[in-house]
Amino acid sequence: MFYREAGQFYTSYAKDQGIFQLRQDKYGLWGILFIAFIVIPVGLYLLVQGGLMAASTKDYLYNSIFLLLLVNSMAALGLNILTGYCGQISLGTAGFMGVGAFAAYKFSTGMNYRNQHEDDAGELVSQLVPMLPPIDNPLILMILAGAVTSVVGVIFGLPSLRIKGFYLAVATLAAQFFLVWCFSRVEWLYDYVSSSTIQVPPMKLFGLVVTGSETVMRDGQQVTIYPAAETKYLICLATVVFFAFVAKNMVRGRIGRAWMAIRDMDIAAQLIGIRPLATKLLAFAVSSFFCGVAGAMLFIFYLGALEGAEAFNINESFAVLFMVIIGGLGSITGAFLGAAFITLIPIFLVIFFPWLGGQFGIPVSTALVEHIQFMIFGALIIIFLIMEPLGLARLWQIGKERLRQWPFPY
């Protein structure tokens, strides 16, 4: 009744080319952004202040759910550009995210290298020598991480001119394994630590502590300031929203049309004057940039410390691929929906089953919950793919079409 195009006419091409065909869609998006940026932080703050929610619950929500959701959305956006829009299947997403994380680490610590020499006593002395000044601005770090990852992505995208479909998937799988191997074998990447873990150094943004902690003198007392969960959340949210906007602009403009042309019919695309290699490499570069930013975000904000081989193993690649497929190939909304589905359903199941068992007085062990979670999650994915192969984005679209007709379907 309220959701229809009646009375909305566009008199210029500029307006007709807008992101939203319907005014209601535009308001809807502003509404979602309003909730994400203002209602959630303020609401949770008030809930905690009012004693309705424990402060730890709030931090759990931010640190374990919202941040993970944002990181996954970012990675899914990146893969969706490559797979959904340009039609190149990639299984190297986690590897590329890892490149972003390690690039962020190296830039934040100043690109240390090890200088080994013998001192006067003939003993081997090794010291870390920085090559660049350390960067402690997370935004700049994310951009740099993205840039490094795009270069790596372009290198691994080169075979895509000759290899297509499943074979390309296998080629990118090689990238995944090679990169993960680097994360645990190339000592320079993790500053020669024996455990091969990297840890995020303290960072500040606009005077706010983002990672690590800071000790200040206040009223003659030493006070340690820990980063607020809200700060991390808002930085990640702003980054993801910005890059989603960029992605949408790319795919609705000439770049996106070239990608989709290559995806849908590459021979005809060449006849129109699209250079297949350049176009595919651009998709690899942009997609890897997004994945790199996602990796940097995962490292700086969500994990804080990680071991490359563990955090960026093949399972993560598959998870992102599932997000893109379940969310809907070739849809920006789909990337978010898919990320939400894959991220939230397991968390929900983990909470739901012990609660359900508690209702009937049946003790539910964590191992059981884990197994049930796998079973239900797998079943849900299969059911989804059979019922709607085009993903959640298509369901969303069908829903909107129904809504347009409701309540008078004629």
Partner: protein, 297 residues
């Protein structure tokens, strides 16, 4: 005005002694012809005569082993399809090759891709491209500048997009497909898909338009529409058209010049009337009575 009385321009494309082999199979043997500006040029022949291969050669998909192609007065090197597109050759396919996931409008807009270049690239081509060294140094920066504008859909880029939308809308108006502007082309009926494909080719504003069986599988009405569009394109925009078609009625009616291929060889050439009367052509289409058969009778 009768077609035979029409005035044509200079030679646009000259094909000289082209031979194309796939391993031991000769697809095209020693074929030569000339396409002149503003002509409607038809290539006909029985199935497997090498017509589509000929278009693919002109397009740059196949590289002939022997012979030369002269386009716009310049002998052509081995080129890739996208380079052919840059020189103004557009093409439609025998079996529709549209971008199925995109709307009609997007398909036509994709045809404008080569014409779209951002402000920095335009500056580069006007000012910097001829300077030595500087052209190599500035190219990445200029390209990246446009890329950033594109990704923000901001200012100059939006103007660009609107200008090309206008051009695309003109094509859409010309082909009378306004009502299916937003429909994904995968959902359209076959006849309309062929029309959209023609639209995509027209959006490139080509000098030479290659149509591979534009009327295959169409009913009478759709064929008449398509003929009208082909003739209109030729009349209004002065586009040279080379087409392959099996419907002899259509070919004889609309084309100015016909080349007949059979088993990869040119067996006849000339105005429709000349070709129609050629005994070799009649034999190729209807078959020849072999001597043994005659003897048996």
């Amino acid at each position: 005005m009768k077609h035979s009385e029409r005035k044509f321009g200079d030679t646009l494309l000259k094909v000289d002694n082209i031979t194309l082999r796939f391993g031991g199979v000769k697809a095209i043997t020693d074929v030569s012809f000339e396409i002149r500006e503003k002509q409607i040029f038809a290539i006909i022949g029985p199935n497997g005569a090498g017509k589509t291969s000929m278009l693919n050669v002109i397009n740059g998909f196949y590289h002939p082993q022997e012979g030369t192609i002269t386009y716009k007065g310049n002998p052509r090197h081995q080129m890739k399809p996208h380079e052919a597109a840059e020189t103004g050759i557009a093409r439609t396919f025998q079996n529709v090759a549209l971008f199925r996931g995109m709307s009609t409008l997007d398909n036509v807009m994709t045809g404008r891709l080569l014409k779209m270049s951002g402000p920095s690239m335009r500056y580069y081509h006007n000012k910097l491209a001829n300077m030595p060294v500087i052209n190599y140094l500035t190219y990445p920066a200029m390209w990246f500048g446009d890329f950033l504008l594109d990704s923000l859909y901001w200012g100059p880029y939006q103007k660009e997009e609107v200008a090309h939308r206008k051009a695309a809308e003109e094509v859409i108006d010309f082909l009378e497909i306004q009502s299916i502007r937003r429909t994904p082309v995968g959902r359209l009926p076959y006849g309309l898909q062929k029309r959209v494909e023609l639209g995509r080719a027209l959006a490139m504003e080509p000098d030479l338009l290659l149509l591979d069986e534009p009327m295959a599988g169409m009913n009478l009405e759709e064929k008449e529409d398509m003929c009208r569009f082909v003739i209109d394109v030729n009349d209004e925009f002065g586009t040279t058209i080379a087409l392959i078609e099996h419907d002899m009625g259509v070919v004889m009616d609309i084309s100015d010049h016909v080349v007949v291929l059979n088993y990869g060889r040119k067996i006849s050439e000339g105005t429709p009337a000349v070709v129609q009367a050629d005994q070799d052509v009649i034999d190729a289409y209807l078959g020849v009575a072999h001597e043994e058969d005659l003897n048996e009778n």
